[in-house]
Symmetry: C2
Subunit: 81 residues, 2 copies
């Protein structure tokens, strides 16, 4: 069994209202020095060893990300016995 | 300037309906072997060098995560000149 993390973030050119709302709130809460904030999704999948990265990529493309406005990245975190 | 990633996930004991919905959809889409799916949030912050990990932790606690039902993790990704 392995754990795979799929990170899905808005594409750079896409407006990120949630990220901007946080960005504007930070100075009001006394946090300075944060130049930009982008908010996306993180999926943690536990998969059988039969599930390879190419399959996870197809899962990301078809179900986890809206590839018109989002980009995704797969990272295999750890393999358990 | 540095880039910091804050990952926010539902605590293990908390029901994750979004993750479960994906888990149930995968076999219908022909993807077998995925044992569990958990969905959370990922924040990418670009911060000035004056912003240390302790400050990012306070940002995560006060604004990015609902610490009653979520746990968070900070990772400093890369430092640019």
């Amino acid at each position: 069994m392995a754990r795979v993390v799929v990170s899905v973030m808005p594409k750079a050119e896409i407006l990120d209202p949630q990220g901007q709302a946080i960005e504007r709130a930070l100075p009001r809460l006394g946090f300075d020095g944060v130049l930009s904030v982008r908010q996306g999704k993180r999926f943690e999948l536990e998969v059988a060893d039969t599930v390879d990265d190419e399959t996870v990529a197809r899962i990301a493309e078809s179900l986890l990300a809206n590839t018109v406005i989002e980009e995704w990245e797969v990272a295999r975190v750890e393999v358990e016995a």
